[in-house]
């Protein structure tokens, strides 16, 4: 059973005071997220990522369409106990401490009283917040608030976690920690659905991604597949300070930096390259298939979409 099935959810807002113009925030969306995977929902700002999440959370009501979460209608109240949500740039009751906030959320999520205190401690530890006893949330830094946000999302041990821009406002250390945490969640068997516009995060973390732009889905698929080497090139790195003639003869692009040389050659030249290097007694360091980056895929998709929009407009 898929964890999330989005069945044609769409949202059109009426904008303006007198003459209401319709503004389509989300075109009918068809999307499936499998159980236990980390799914990235990618798109530039204003693409409709947050709208989709808000629709799934029941914060906003769809103009049409429906969704199923864990096999139930997304409006089913019982679903809420099994999902966690971290909104973008979260803000919490600033007069509470982190402990009080989590305790309150635990109460609302139905975490039994006996386990609550323990669970709060556990979760705070998990997100790396220590020594925050008695400190009111109004005094927390952005990064700390983000961690609190993650904490409240996983507090009640939900099966699916929804993160909206989880890395925003974090420094590289923080982002690394969040990435590790998401991997942890996946290992615990949870499904993670997160939206971001930072592609490198998606590339390393996600099993599958979807790309959304101007409210429309532009591409879905496993990261592997989307970035699979189209051009069939490999990158060879060896120790050396200059390019041997025999290597040059293979017609490779070479680049020297420090005591290493990098060359990009065709896949079928791989054998020849290795032979050449052995003959020249050059020390081989690495052979890696060159993948199209997710970024390239992304940009290409968007550009194509804009051209279509331009011609049809």
């Amino acid at each position: 059973m898929p964890a999330i099935e989005i069945l044609g959810l769409e949202k059109t807002y009426s904008v303006g005071f007198w003459r209401k113009r319709p503004k389509r925030a989300l075109h009918p969306l068809q999307l499936t997220v499998e159980d236990g995977e980390i799914f990235g929902f990618l798109g530039p700002n204003g693409a409709g990522k947050t709208t989709t999440l808000k629709l799934l959370m029941g914060l906003v009501f769809p103009t049409a369409g429906s969704a199923r979460i864990l096999g139930r209608e997304w409006t089913d109240p019982q679903v809420k106990a099994q999902i966690g949500f971290l909104p973008e740039q979260p803000y919490f009751y600033d007069y509470l401490t982190a402990h009080e906030l989590l305790e309150y959320y635990g109460q609302l999520s139905g975490v039994p009283a006996k386990q609550r205190k323990q669970r709060v401690e556990q979760v705070l530890h998990q997100v790396g917040l220590r020594d925050v006893q008695g400190l009111q949330l109004r005094k927390f830094s952005k990064g700390m608030l983000q961690r609190v946000g993650i904490a409240q999302a996983i507090l009640h041990d939900p099966k699916i976690v929804f993160f909206d821009e989880p890395m925003s406002g974090l420094d590289p250390m923080g982002r690394r920690e969040v990435r590790d945490l998401m991997e942890q969640l996946k290992h615990q068997g949870k499904t993670v659905f997160f939206s971001t516009h930072i592609l490198s995060d998606a590339e390393t973390l996600c099993d599958r991604v979807a790309i959304i732009h101007m409210g429309e889905l532009r591409g879905v698929g496993a990261v592997e597949d989307l970035t699979s080497s189209i051009h069939g090139k490999v990158e060879v790195i060896w120790q050396g300070t200059q390019v041997p003639l025999s290597v040059k003869a293979l017609g490779a692009e070479c680049h020297v930096s420090g005591d290493r040389v990098r060359a990009i050659i065709d896949e079928n030249q791989q054998e020849a390259m290795v032979d050449a290097l052995r003959r020249e007694r050059q020390r081989l360091i690495a052979i890696t298939p060159v993948r199209t980056s997710l970024e390239a895929y992304f940009v290409e998709k968007l550009r194509r979409a804009e051209t279509t929009a331009g011609t049809s407009a």
């Binding site: 209608e73 409006t75 089913d76 109240p77």
Partner: protein
């Protein structure tokens, strides 16, 4: 959508039911508190205190107190009250808050002076109110009229009435009848014609419904008084001629050559009792009549004290 539909249904039902219930209870509360708005007047009859409490919104408070005064009097008058203790304070508060609310003075002149159940029976306070009004509105001829009215109707002080009407006639844009009334006072104070003039003037110049109705009642009573007086005189003449009382009204009419069967303003023919008294058929319909009432007739007090 199911849970949302359920909530919508329950909330809508709750809204409608509680609305209906609250209106029902509100009705009951209103019945419990017929004179509730007058709490302050019962306990604080100093207009100054109320003025301070108005925080500068005197005009609005004057309107509110004026409405309360009208309601107070109307409610009690409808139930033939025996006293109207709060009428004077209410009017005093109203005029203190807004000295230019002329209709309040008119109301006072019509209803403060007469005796219950027609009024509060406090002619002195009526005089005070009128004088206060004139002080604050010296160019309003209407107030002189109202003051003169009180002197004439309740205090029967014809000299003062004449003097007041005379003063009033000098006010710019004064109604011409003030001069006429002044003259009339001097010569024919106690006559029906004068009284009729006054009540007609009141009727024509006021906007207030209750004052108008009151004037009409007085005019009707005047008619009755006049009719009964003439009929009684006819009975006397009959008696002097024939040495006995007429056997019936018809006989009197025939013998004295009166035009048709005499009837009161409601169309009911006057009665002629065996003792020779002329009476109206339904005395309750003419609360201000002084003649034509059965002996020992007392107007009803319907229980508001």
């Amino acid at each position: 959508m199911k849970p949302r539909q359920k909530t919508t249904m329950v909330a809508s039902a709750c809204l409608i039911l509680s609305l209906a219930a609250s209106l029902f209870v509100l009705n009951r509360i209103d019945q419990l508190r017929p004179q509730a708005t007058l709490d302050e007047v019962l306990f604080l009859s100093s207009p100054k205190v109320i003025q301070r409490a108005s925080l500068g919104y005197d005009g609005l408070m004057a309107c509110i107190y004026w409405t309360r005064a009208v309601q107070y009097f109307g409610y009690r008058h409808h139930n033939f009250a025996a006293s109207y203790n709060l009428l004077a304070p209410l009017l005093e508060i109203t005029t203190h808050l807004d000295p230019h609310l002329v209709v309040a003075y008119e109301f006072g002149s019509s209803f403060l002076a007469p005796k219950p159940p027609q009024g509060a029976g406090q002619p002195e306070r009526a005089l005070q109110l009128m004088q206060y009004g004139i002080q604050n509105n010296p160019d309003n001829w209407r107030l002189y009229y109202d003051l003169g009215f009180v002197y004439y109707m309740e205090l029967r002080d014809y000299k003062q009435a004449a003097a007041t009407f005379e003063r009033g006639s000098h006010v710019p844009n004064a109604h011409p009848f003030l001069k006429i009334l002044a003259a009339q006072m001097a010569q024919h104070a106690g006559e029906y014609e004068t009284a009729r003039m006054l009540w007609s003037a009141t009727y024509q110049t006021t906007q207030d419904k209750q004052i108008k109705e009151n004037a009409v009642e007085h005019l009707r009573a005047l008619r009755v008084d006049e009719d009964v007086k003439h009929l009684q005189e006819a009975v006397t003449r009959f008696g002097e001629r024939t040495g006995r009382l007429p056997a019936s009204m018809a006989e009197l009419v025939a013998a004295e050559g009166l035009a048709g069967t005499p009837a009161d303003p409601d169309g009911h023919p006057y009665k002629l009792t065996p003792e020779g008294r002329v009476e109206v058929r339904v005395p309750e319909d003419f609360p201000f009549a002084t003649r034509g009432l059965p002996p020992g007739f007392k107007p009803k007090f319907r229980g508001i004290l």
